[in-house]
């Protein structure tokens, strides 16, 4: 069964500082990996995704993530955090084409990001 672990429940950074949110996954095949962001009272917005190819993927709002197969990780990074980045971030893994679980996403527990001025 697929699973996702986000080890950090809550992270606090100062505005302008760099950010790294950790995500580890367990999956029996090549995973599809996603990062979503959820602002208070909002739905989920896709930040970026990895399907194949270049292991460093760029997303919206200046975010990037690196897929490391050897470490089963897909950490999210941003070089300089803005106050508007304060939100909850979810890592998710999904299945590639085929099989009964096709298209389903398994989410991590989420990491709440607080940004200090």
């Amino acid at each position: 069964a697929q699973s996702v672990t986000q080890p950090d429940i809550h992270i606090t950074v100062s505005e302008g500082a760099s950010l790294e949110l950790r995500c580890n996954y367990s999956y029996g095949a090549t995973p599809y990996l996603f990062w979503y962001v959820q602002s208070p009272g909002q739905g989920l917005q896709l930040l970026l995704k990895y399907f194949s190819g270049d292991t460093l993927v760029q997303g919206i709002k200046g975010f990037e993530a690196e897929f490391k197969r050897s470490q089963s990780s897909f950490n999210l990074r941003k070089p300089s955090v803005h106050w508007s980045d304060a939100a909850e971030y979810f890592c998710a893994v999904g299945r590639i084409a085929g099989g009964t679980s096709y298209g389903k996403l398994t989410f991590g527990q989420g990491t709440i990001l607080t940004v200090h001025p």
């Binding site: 739905g43 896709l46 399907f51 979810f90 999904g94 084409a97 298209g103 389903k104 996403l105 989410f107």
Partner: protein, 119 residues
Amino acid sequence: SAVISQKPSRDICQRGTSLTIQCQVDSQVTMMFWYRQQPGQSLTLIATANQGSEATYESGFVIDKFPISRPNLTFSTLTVSNMSPEDSSIYLCSGANPGLPGLSTDTQYFGPGTRLTVL
């Protein structure tokens, strides 16, 4: 990308009643899903809404409690039946078009969610 809307955005309901949540997509999508996000928790998949056939439910979720309809490729409903306070959650729908040329493969787009409080 698909734009997904949900109605209602929030509701407060009495124990024992039922609520139907609507999910509308601005374009045809092959797959639609319903998720539950309990307070302070992550998202848990309830079921896959299949057009023209019965929904496929995940372990721990049953049709009698969460009946789902999907009459076409742009619309689905989720009913939360015989509600109890434990059903207080945010319910989100999502849509995806996996594997179709020219579209974002396997990317799920989410609605804004329906915040349900059961008293």
